[in-house]
């Protein structure tokens, strides 16, 4: 039943995603674009969290460094999108090569060190105002324009993001099913055994970290063209934690999970902040609730529900 439903479900979801901008209007189109972008960021966090078992709290860094690089090139130096976007991706990935040394550590140490790394980037964005524009950041980023692909509206950009995110999801699926993906789950299950089987576990984790940073950087590029500006908030700690929270709420170790989580969080924030000033508190409570009651996330809940229904049906 599960496999039979999967293809029609995916097609239905795709149809809804394609038709939504027509039906839902500009506000929802914009929010959905954000949801995809942050879902991609959450997915990048989840490559480490849900597969390798590493909890990174510095992914806002890659996200922000690529966003800043693209924005600065495009706005101040009039570099075309065809160069500015890849340059952003490259910059974030290079930072991943540096921060990747965090995989020398595990567990709490890894968490704490990535937090510290994340603050370096935030600090630089915040204080090096002659280059980053300080708290105002870089503004007036144009829509992307790559030869034949020329985006002129938020709706068009929505489709571009949808296409990129779908491609990423497909690539991600291959990645986690590949020997490399299996290796990461092996390291999470027993690193000592992996070493005795001939794996240089640290090198695999490092590679995973860099791939994950590249994915976060891609999200950063997509973000800056949507947002049209970037400021130190993009590099801030809450972005990193929220990305992790999205993955956890949606369900770690899955592909749809991080996107579902991103939709829930962004929708919740949007809705709550429309009538309640203390929405940061509400987000805090969501963290607490997620840890206490839904450590398996929505995907896990659905799975359990289905198992229970199947059990009731047969028994």
């Amino acid at each position: 039943m599960r496999n039979a439903l999967r293809v029609p479900l995916a097609l239905a979801a795709l149809a809804v995603a394609v038709l939504l901008p027509v039906a839902a209007g500009p506000f929802w189109t914009g929010l959905l674009t954000q949801m995809y972008v942050f879902g991609l960021l959450a997915l990048s966090v989840d490559l480490l969290l849900g597969h390798a078992g590493l909890f990174s709290l510095c992914h806002a860094s890659f996200f922000a460094v690529s966003a800043y690089t693209t924005a600065i090139l495009q706005v101040r130096h009039a570099v075309p999108t065809a160069l500015a976007a890849p340059a952003g991706l490259l910059a974030g990935t290079l930072l991943g090569l540096v921060f990747g040394f965090a995989v020398r550590t595990r567990g709490v140490y890894f968490i704490l060190i990535t937090i510290a790394f994340g603050y370096v980037v935030w600090g630089v964005a915040h204080r090096w105002s002659s280059f980053t524009g300080g708290d105002n950041g870089v503004t007036n980023v144009p829509f992307p324009d790559v030869g034949a692909v020329r985006v002129e509206s938020h709706t068009e950009y929505y489709y571009l993001v949808l296409a990129v995110v779908l491609l990423c999801a497909l690539g991600y699926r291959l990645l986690v099913a590949s020997p490399f993906g299996l290796t990461l789950r092996g390291i999470r299950a027993s690193e000592t055994r992996m070493r005795s089987l001939g794996y240089h576990s640290g090198l695999h984790l490092y590679a995973a970290f860099v791939v994950s940073a590249a994915l976060a950087s891609l999200a950063g590029v997509l973000y800056v063209y949507y947002n049209r500006f970037v400021n130190p908030v993009a590099a801030s700690f809450p972005i990193s934690v929220e990305a992790a929270l999205m993955a956890i709420i949606g369900g770690t170790g899955t592909i749809v999970g991080p996107f579902i989580g991103s939709m829930i969080i962004l929708w919740l924030r949007n809705w709550v902040s429309s009538f309640f000033e203390l929405y940061a508190s509400v987000m805090g409570l969501v963290f607490i609730a997620a840890v206490l009651w839904a450590p398996q996330g929505v995907v896990g809940l659905v799975g359990r529900l289905r198992a229970r229904l199947a059990g009731a049906g047969s028994g």
């Binding site: 550590t105 709490v108 140490y109 204080r127 934690v241 940061a280």
Partner: protein, 287 residues
């Protein structure tokens, strides 16, 4: 130039004193209970704000310190008892949960005390500058802070090294099974150590709020620097927290002075290098 360098050294040392207050609690709760409490920065900020209100109402700085610390002890107990305890030894869950707690505390504080930078008023005899040997002039408050930090550090050290409770805590840091074997009430010990950590954090907020000021976001800024202290020194080690605080305090002061735009690099760069050599910090144990 040399006199500036000396002033920066004193600046760094006074910051180290403050960082030690915060980091020692963090490191002890981790060492003994294996709890990572990311709300420590929020405890700092909340303690500072409450102390500020007390100081404004009563005019007593001493009362502000005790009140700010005590309020955080009460809150910290509830958070430990009703939230953190449910996470077991899952660090990921602890981090997420306590980050959530910190968001709530920070947000509620913002609603109560507003978004401006506030300064805890200090008593008259701590205001102004004092003259140091060699003709240097330095703010009296920060100088006293160094003495205060040394006193607290010495007290903690005595408690840790010379008392029976300290001995049990040390044994617990090495091997938790041992504590249960001594027949001591482990729960009560945990509550005690966690209360001490909360008190130190709340007190640090009042003391720090008098010269660094209190504002939304100060909770995370100070926490991250305290984390670097703990990482450099080695999680769970009191001596590590002392040495780490001194290193980080000095690096921060010189970094801000020499490379203001990249002071974060000056702070975190050496940490990264150290970790390549010793992933568990200077006094950290290999497990």
């Amino acid at each position: 130039m040399t006199s500036s360098a000396i002033l920066q050294a004193i600046n760094g040392t006074s910051l180290a004193a403050l960082l030690f207050l915060l980091a020692s609690g963090f490191t002890l709760t981790f060492g003994l209970m294996r709890v990572v409490n990311m709300a420590h920065g929020a405890y700092y900020l909340l303690g500072g704000y409450i102390g500020l209100t007390i100081a404004e109402r009563t005019g007593s700085f001493a009362l502000a310190i005790v009140g700010g610390g005590a309020a955080v002890v009460a809150l910290g107990y509830l958070i430990d008892r009703f939230l953190i305890r449910h996470t077991g030894e899952n660090h990921l869950a602890q981090v997420l949960l306590t980050v959530g707690v910190a968001f709530v505390i920070g947000d509620v504080s913002l609603a109560i005390w507003g978004g401006d930078s506030l300064k805890v008023p200090t008593p008259v005899f701590l205001r102004g500058a004092m003259e140091l040997p060699g003709g240097l002039v330095y703010p009296r408050y920060r100088f006293v802070l160094i003495l205060f930090g040394v006193c607290v550090g010495a007290a903690l050290w005595l408690l840790y090294r010379k008392t029976q409770i300290g001995a049990v805590v040390r044994a617990g840091v090495d091997d938790r099974e041992q504590v249960s074997a001594t027949g001591i009430n482990v729960d009560r010990l945990f509550v005690l150590v966690s209360a001490l950590a909360s008190f130190l954090a709340g007190m640090a907020g009042v003391v720090g709020g008098a010269f660094l000021t209190l504002y939304p976001g100060a909770d995370w800024e100070i926490l991250v620097v305290a984390l670097v202290v703990v990482i450099v020194g080695g999680l769970g080690s009191l001596g590590g927290a002392m040495l780490g605080a001194l290193i980080v305090g000095l690096l921060d002061a010189y970094g801000r002075w020499l490379l203001p735009e990249f002071s974060y690099f000056v702070l975190f760069g050496p940490m990264a290098v150290l970790l390549l050599v010793r992933p568990r910090g200077i006094f950290g144990r290999e497990s």
